[in-house]
Symmetry: C2
Subunit: 356 residues, 2 copies
């Protein structure tokens, strides 16, 4: 037992803050707000909720400026959804990839309350020919990569209009029943279930409708990879859908387990818009797989917890892995897809424990 | 007078070869083949014309493979058009920009004979929903920039379908009445009048029709720049249209001119798809401008030569500049647009001479 209380979050980077959950602390479906991971590109803006305005403009019939009172006055919806950083698990990659060295905990699941983006788009009126909906945050700065615009730029990411109109895409002002905190995008952030969280833009200040695929920094240079279709010229592909994944929360890596008693292998599994149908657990580094039990009901955007009771034959060193399959038939691969660079790390990750 | 003959081309880079014309050698409208600039990204492929095939595939009704005999059997067209490298004039930029240090001569004008791309697209049949036509060359390698696909890639660039269907866009096999040479893309290259020459793909081997804007290396990382619309999030913009430009061929920079006789200031001017209407010359570094005389008739895609007879008042050092305006009302600016980085260098360039 630690002599000092364990902080709720692991610091991966300061200024801007990038803080990771202890995935081993998984318990209920909802990740408590104070242990929900924090991903920041620049310093978190301090926004006066009373002065805050959200402007919807571009190819619209009328420019709309919303106050927080306006937004709270619109019909609200609540959705439970996983947010996962597109670089979660990067720490496992060899060779090492640039970027924040997330291990398992740049992911969490919360209940988000807000107004469907579709309702806000309807207020402004979408002109024919709109292709993309750009979500712009109030956070800004100069990216660290070599190829970036000269000026200080705001964090911006787009959704195709069809995705923006999905009913589960929210402009959220509450997280697990509490107002958003500054670290999580107060007063209002986007929540884009099914997509990696780079699309769930925090500190929203503008929604811009445009007639082409947005070619902003965070979907061309960053949060993008080179496709590798056989025989086709490679193309820059912006990251979007969450790939099917499961992670073992307990036991944690390097745990020492007393031989004799059954061991509860416990974790969560999630995918983009398709419920998890199967989770399997291997205790021999991926040779044999055993069916785990799904604890939670099938859900499109929340994760499902699962467990497997393991009875080790004998003391020794074991490499555990879990493998999820979703309703669309997607299964976790055994190896990282190198074409994805430092993103979409969803292969079956090893958890090494000692039974003694 | 030089003691040794001047080579027809200035070497800017070897392996791959990047060779520049002496712009001061401008004479007729057509640049002779052996003094036409050469731009290579990788080693020039050696292609057996008898074995060469051009495949048209992707979103087509039928895959088509053309031989050189097939192509020569189709109705040919001849167009006179300027080709200009998107980085022509980069040598003038301060601070220095990465890339080949072209001065004035990465530009030329030739008569191109070939088959309209539109006719070849019709053979394959364009499916509904096609957005881009990718032109792929046989030249390949690993780009030098930090952000590039891991594999060896072929030089590829796309045109929007509407541009690809323009009658002046050719699959050319002749240049000024002679078969294309290896350096210029033998046996067949694209000629895309009005666009910078990165789109006039050499050593064509494939035409690929796709349902989205192509996001290949040479239109995202390379041959692209960050837009800077006021108050809008910057976007990667692929370079396309040639900006209006004029260049002084004679006198050349650093020329010494005998005082007393009139001086013929002579050059060429061109723009993207709009004829040149006016060229002006300044002999006082851009303060006062004098109308030059257009020598050639208005032409959409060829350049127009121009001249101005200058009678210097007194001996001294003079900075000459020329400034063109096209039929669409575009005029050369006084300064380089820094947003364009090392591309689209079309401001009025200085030519410093001594009258003595």
């Amino acid at each position: 037992m630690p002599l000092k209380p364990i902080p709720a979050l692991i610091t991966r980077q300061r200024d801007p803050d990038n803080l990771e959950s202890h995935f081993s602390a998984l318990d209920g479906v909802l990740t408590p707000n104070d242990s929900f991971y924090v991903r920041s590109h620049f310093e978190a803006p301090v926004i006066d909720p009373g002065a805050w305005r959200l402007r919807i403009e571009g190819s619209v019939h009328r420019i709309v400026d919303l106050t927080l009172t306006d937004l709270r006055g619109m019909a609200a919806q609540t959705h439970t959804a996983v947010l996962e950083c597109a670089g979660n698990g990067r720490l496992f990659l060899k060779p090492k990839k640039d970027g924040v060295q997330w291990e398992l905990g740049a992911v969490g699941c919360a209940r988000w309350k807000g107004v469907p983006l579709a309702a806000v788009l309807d207020r402004a009126g979408v002109q024919p020919g709109v292709i993309d909906v750009v979500l712009e945050g109030a956070d800004s700065g100069t990216p660290e990569k070599a190829d970036h615009p000269k000026a200080k730029i705001t964090y911006s990411r787009s959704l195709p209009l069809s995705k923006a109109r999905q009913p589960e895409v929210l402009l959220a002002y509450e997280m697990n029943g509490e107002p958003l905190t500054r670290a999580h995008g107060a007063p209002v952030r986007a929540i884009v279930p099914g997509w990696y969280a780079m699309a769930s833009v925090k500190w929203l200040r503008r929604i811009l409708l445009i007639d082409h695929r947005f070619q902003g920094f965070w979907q061309t240079v960053d949060y993008a990879y080179w496709s590798a279709h056989d025989g086709q010229p490679p193309e820059h592909v912006p990251i979007s859908d969450i790939a099917v994944k499961s992670t073992i929360a307990q036991p944690a890596g390097n745990d020492r387990i007393a031989f004799g008693a059954p061991v509860r292998v416990f974790g969560a599994a999630w995918s983009a818009g398709a419920a998890i149908t199967t989770v399997e657990v291997s205790v021999d580094d991926g040779k044999l797989w055993n069916a785990a039990k799904l604890i939670d009901e099938a859900h499109e955007h929340a994760w499902q917890r699962w467990e497997f009771v393991w009875r080790p034959d004998k003391p020794g060193r074991y490499t555990l892995r879990s493998r999820a399959t979703d309703a669309a038939g997607n299964t976790q691969p055994a190896e990282h897809n190198k074409d994805h660079g430092g993103y979409i790390v969803h292969h079956t990750l090893p958890v090494v424990v000692e039974v003694e």
